[in-house]
Each structure stands twice: as C-alpha cells, then as structure tokens.
C-alpha cells in the first residue's frame, strides 16, 4: 500500500528507542507526543485563521526540531518549508500550513498503526 503523503516516519529510530527504554515507557512517551501533535494541529489552524504569520513561523520552528527528533521526517520537512515561507513568502503560508496539518494527521495515523498506539 502506498504511504500517505507526509507520513514518512523513522520507524527504525523509534523502534531502537523502544527497545532501549522498554515498551511501557515508549508507549507513554508516544501517547504524549501524539496528543501534543493533535493539539498543534488545532493551534496551527487557529493561528492560520487569525493570519498570525509571526507566531506560525515560531511554532513551525519549534515543531521542526521536535517532530524530527521523534522521527517524523515529513512533518519536520513540512514545518521547515512553512517556517521559510513565514519569512520569505507570506503568500504561500496558507497552502504550506494546510500541507503541514495534513502531514501531521497522516503521521499520527501512521504511528498509531505502526506501534499499536491509541489514536
């Protein structure tokens, strides 16, 4: 089955972490991360509706480092593009914001499926 666009995650990295810290700790960590990611989608939608490009850029910057460290490569990449648009191409912010939010939703679904987590 083709992977949904924006759902690339580093399964090997997450699996290595799971083996090192144990299933229970990994599950707690991943559940918290997914809850945070869902909240970030809401935050980004709200900021997008308000047209607050400065805060969107800051949020995208934070998300790039956080999502990438959790192994969500597509989300990190989409956040980087959104951050760049916030400073260099404000006219593209809305489109890149939609792409990021779709990428976050797809990545949540992929992590849930890959590691048997709660949606």
């Amino acid at each position: 089955m083709a992977e949904p666009e924006g759902a690339a995650i580093d399964v090997a990295r997450l699996d290595a972490l799971r083996r090192l810290i144990g299933d229970d700790e990994f599950r707690r960590l991943a559940d918290k991360f997914l809850a945070d990611l869902s909240q970030r989608i809401d935050t980004m939608e709200r900021l997008g509706a308000a047209g607050d490009v400065t805060t969107i850029g800051r949020e995208a910057h934070t998300l790039r480092g956080t999502a990438g460290s959790y192994g969500l490569q597509s989300v990190a990449s989409l956040a980087e593009r959104l951050e760049a648009a916030c400073t260099a191409a404000p006219g593209e912010v809305a489109e890149r914001l939609r792409a990021l939010n779709a990428g976050m939703a797809a990545s949540i679904a992929r992590m849930v499926a890959e590691f048997g987590l709660k949606a």
Partner: protein, 134 residues
C-alpha cells in the same frame, strides 16, 4: 573540589528548553539511554534559579526561547563564579556556519543541531564533554 574546578566525570546534566514535548524525549534519552542524572528547566530564568544548587557537569541550552533566549542565559550563567568552567552546549535548528561561529564566540562548548536522534544523543553529549576537557 573548589567551586570553579571542572568535574572529572560527566554525570549531572541541566537541560533547558521551553518545549515540554521535546524536553520529555530528551530527558528519557539522557536518563534511560545515557544513564545521566538530569534536571530540566522550561526557561533561562528557571535555569538560573536552580543551577547552582543542582551543580551540573554540563548544560544543554535551547537557543530560541521566549523572554530569555539561549545566548542571554549563557551570558547570565557566566556571571556565576561556580559556573564559569561548566561547558554549555547550545541546541538549535539554526546551524548555518555564521550562527555556529557566533555561538562559539559567545562561549558555547559546541552546538547540537535539532532535530537530533535520541538514541545517539547521550553519546554525542559525552563526546562534546571529552573534547571540552581537552
């Protein structure tokens, strides 16, 4: 050991970042994978209030934080006599050459780019610690 004498081993880390989700991952990585004792802080101000009592061997400092960013926190840390020899490592998504040079000029021992691999982070921190003692 005098207050300004550097530690001979790496065991206590202070990690400062305003993103609780990344802080959780980093703490688990450093504690569970690396075996370090870790104190986390959500701001530069909080770090300054606990750093002397915690007495870290090394400090990991996010660059982009509200109110007091990483460079401002580093400057304030260097004002504390007991902290002047403790290596400070910046953690940032901005790792272009010009920024890296600026961070080192500010007195950072090194810079860790975000995102980072939580499985490899403890090893990276140990390597920076070893270099900082050379």
């Amino acid at each position: 050991m005098s207050p300004s004498e550097p530690s001979s081993s790496l065991s206590r880390l202070l990690y400062v970042d305003d993103d609780p989700t990344l802080t959780l991952l980093t703490r688990i990585s450093l504690e569970r994978v690396g075996g370090f004792t870790v104190r986390t802080c959500a701001s530069g101000t909080e770090a300054l209030s606990v750093v002397e009592a915690f007495a870290p061997d090394l400090i990991l400092l996010d660059v982009m934080m509200p109110v007091m960013d990483g460079p401002a926190t580093l400057r304030a840390l260097r004002e504390l006599p007991s902290l002047d020899l403790v290596p400070v490592v910046f953690m940032t998504a901005k790792v272009q050459d010009a920024e890296m040079a600026r961070y080192r000029e500010l007195g950072a021992a090194d810079v860790i780019g975000k995102p980072y691999d939580p499985v490899k982070l403890p090893e990276l921190v140990r390597a920076i610690w070893e270099r900082s003692r050379g």
